[in-house]
């Protein structure tokens, strides 16, 4: 299953243990199933990480480091290596991921295939911008090394290519130097979207990391309120690997624990707890970047039906009105999640063909799955996004209509042409075929 536990499409996995065994796995998948897909940690929310054939190649055991130059911060590792694995060796040596998403439990291959972004997108763009080269195994062409100057078309198509252009066997990335693993954070609440845009305009360029929490349940006068957070790595302090882990969610409740009541109550308390004045705190990187990693299996709180994440990007010109309209529609529905994230993306273009971020503002939040979502709420939100010239994030998606995808990602045909004929996901089948 994917991270959203929806759609419930059963998958069988064949485990890859060594890169040398991958050609044989591809050959047997071709013979028995006709198609397959590489699967990492399964942290994509929707169906982009699920094979159309129901048979994936589990890459997680390909988690060996290949080499590292700690003087220049260049690291090469097999594709199943997780960002957590990388941090464990890099942080004590004074290096950090140049770009990190909100969880460290994703694989290197997955980070490339989804061209993930993080709190510093306005400074450093997407993960793909820091990939120097990678090994790609294709069913039709065998082993290739892709880089900006070698197989450039496949290099671009694979970054954000949803795992469809071949199996990423290994990748070489450029890390970012840090003096300390502590982060100097800043938090301040805002009363409406106008204040958010003012804060973002003032502070984004001053800080490496910026993100905001927004109260998606707030309506009327309180609509658009939230908490703006920024941070920078401290210039002194320890360089310590962090790994907070609490017991986690032990089982999946029959119904979602997130509902209209719990949502309003939690969000109101959270907003009130935040400081109205700018508050500065120094802390570890783990709670700053990966708050939810401390709660294993948090995705279970949405119950057995699972949830869907909705992440949209609204271009700068329409950002204010577009985000306002999205939040209004969501608040009226009474649905949503404790964690709703607002973030301004910068102008650094990704080398990836189907990379999601563009200059603008992205809003992401989760919804417990129900029939109502796809019948009523999502069509309304999709219309707003379409109107504003925005787009949805394939890595998070389980509902996007094919025509919306093809319009928002005009380069999809180039990816279709470069797709490995043996690799096919439910997502790609849904939107491109």
């Amino acid at each position: 299953m994917s991270w959203g536990r929806y759609p419930p499409l059963p998958q069988r996995a064949r485990a890859a243990n060594w890169c040398g065994g991958l050609p044989a796995l591809l050959a047997s998948a071709a013979k028995e199933k006709g198609s397959t897909l590489a699967h990492g940690e399964g942290r994509s929310y929707g169906d982009s990480c699920l094979a159309a054939s129901g048979e994936v190649i589990a890459m997680r055991r390909l988690d060996r480091f290949l080499d590292a130059d700690w003087s220049s911060g260049v690291l090469r590792a097999e594709a199943g290596t997780t960002l957590a694995d990388i941090l464990a060796v890099a942080v004590p040596r004074g290096w950090f991921l140049p770009v990190t998403p909100g969880t460290k439990f994703v694989t290197l291959g997955g980070a490339i295939a989804n061209d993930v972004h993080g709190k510093n997108h306005h400074r450093r763009g997407t993960f793909g911008r820091h990939v120097r080269r990678f090994g790609l195994l294709r069913s039709d062409r065998g082993r290739l090394v892709c880089a900006p100057d070698a197989e450039p078309a496949l290099f671009a198509a694979t970054i954000g290519g949803l795992g469809l252009t071949g199996l990423i066997e290994w990748a070489e990335i450029q890390l970012m130097p840090i003096a300390s693993s502590h982060v100097d954070g800043l938090a301040v609440r805002f009363g409406d979207l106008g204040e958010f845009f003012a804060l973002s305009a003032e502070l984004d360029e001053r800080h490496e990391f910026c993100v905001s929490w927004v109260d998606c349940a707030a309506r009327g006068k309180t609509a658009g309120r939230g908490v703006y957070m920024a941070g920078d790595f401290a210039s002194d302090g320890p360089r310590a690997v962090e790994n907070r882990r609490r017991p986690g969610v032990p089982l999946t409740p029959p119904v979602s624990l997130v509902n209209a009541w719990s949502l309003r109550a939690f969000n109101a308390i959270y907003w009130r707890k935040a400081s109205a004045k700018r508050r500065y705190v120094r802390g570890g990187y783990d709670p700053f970047f990966y708050p939810l990693d401390a709660l294993p299996n948090w995705n279970r709180i949405y119950g057995i039906k699972g949830f869907q994440q909705y992440q949209a990007l609204i271009p700068d010109a329409e950002a204010r009105a577009g985000v306002q309209a999205l939040l209004d529609a969501i608040a009226r529905s009474g649905k949503g999640s404790f964690l709703a994230v607002l973030k301004r993306c910068g102008g650094d273009a990704s080398p990836g063909l189907l990379s999601f971020p563009r200059p603008g503002v992205t809003l992401a939040l989760d919804f417990p799955h129900s029939g109502h979502l796809e019948d009523a709420l999502f069509p309304r939100l999709d219309a707003i996004v379409h109107e504003a010239g925005g787009r949805l994030y394939p890595a998070k998606d389980a509902h996007m209509k094919g025509e919306d995808f093809r319009r928002a990602y005009p380069d999809w045909e180039k990816l279709a042409a470069l797709r490995d004929p043996l690799l096919l996901s439910h997502f790609w089948k849904r939107v491109a075929q």
């Binding site: 485990a15 890169c19 060996r64 080499d67 590292a68 690291l75 590792a77 464990a88 060796v89």
Partner: protein, 245 residues
């Protein structure tokens, strides 16, 4: 920094142990059959901060043992730990039809380990210290119709260890007999293992590394196999032969 020899270093449990040791700071001498896998593992451990030397060898090639052990002792001027971790999971029904295959599997899982222990024991005895460890199996505790070739080979190693341990203890050398239960590794891939009883190589490795450090004699991994196997060993033979195991 611990100086560690691992035979069968590319097995999943051995690799997981090596990573834990590497995190503490270690110098490795790795022996395994497949040069490509060996190189990949060596690279991984180097990035994790370890020093690594490696040696390509088939454990069944007993003639090669002496040279390998010699090099291992020379590489880092002595050894603190030697872990014997190689093995296969024989196809029991194929073994039943083929005596030569049975002996081959017995050699891989039993005799080759006994040969290595014999040579290593003498070196460690002379060194007057260090820890030997060998991965056997809970399958060696009782012969079951479904895999008694594997089980009896591991049982031979376990009994060999029991005697050798007593001898080595006089020289201050520890010998740990590691008996894992079901572990999700390439060796057991495709087997219908009971999910609740199946451990990850990482969990088993944690217990092994801690067990070797405290010089445990017999180490069931995970721990819950100790009471399970205690109970299974108590089942009378007359009843045991009628059970489907």
């Amino acid at each position: 920094m611990k100086r560690i020899l691992i035979v069968g270093a590319t097995s999943a449990i051995a690799m997981a142990c090596a990573r834990l040791w590497a995190a503490e700071g270690a110098r490795f001498f790795l022996a395994a059959r497949d040069a490509e896998k060996l190189a990949a593992l060596a690279g991984d451990l180097r990035v994790r901060g370890a020093d690594v030397a490696s040696f390509q060898m088939d454990a069944n090639d007993v003639a090669a043992h002496a040279g390998m052990i010699e090099q291992a002792f020379q590489a880092w001027q002595g050894l603190d730990i030697a872990l014997i971790a190689h093995g296969t999971l024989p196809d029991q029904s194929a073994c039943e039809r083929d005596a030569a295959l049975t002996l081959r599997e017995f050699s891989t899982n039993g005799l080759s380990a006994i040969a290595l222990l014999t040579s290593l024991a003498n070196r460690f005895e002379r060194q007057q210290g260090g820890a030997l460890a060998v991965i056997t199996s809970v399958a060696g505790d009782r012969g079951r119709p479904s895999n008694y070739v594997y089980g009896s080979a591991k049982a031979a190693v376990s009994v060999f260890c029991e005697g050798l341990r007593a001898r080595l203890s006089r020289a201050g050398v520890a010998l740990t007999d590691i008996r894992p239960g079901f572990v999700a590794t390439p060796m057991t891939q495709g087997l219908p293992l009971p999910k609740r009883l199946t451990a990850t190589p990482e969990a088993v490795a944690k217990r092994i590394v801690a067990g070797i450090a405290r010089k445990a004699d017999v180490l069931y991994a995970p721990f819950f196999w100790f009471p399970i196997m205690l109970a299974i060993r108590c089942i009378p033979g007359a009843l045991f032969k009628r059970m489907k195991l």
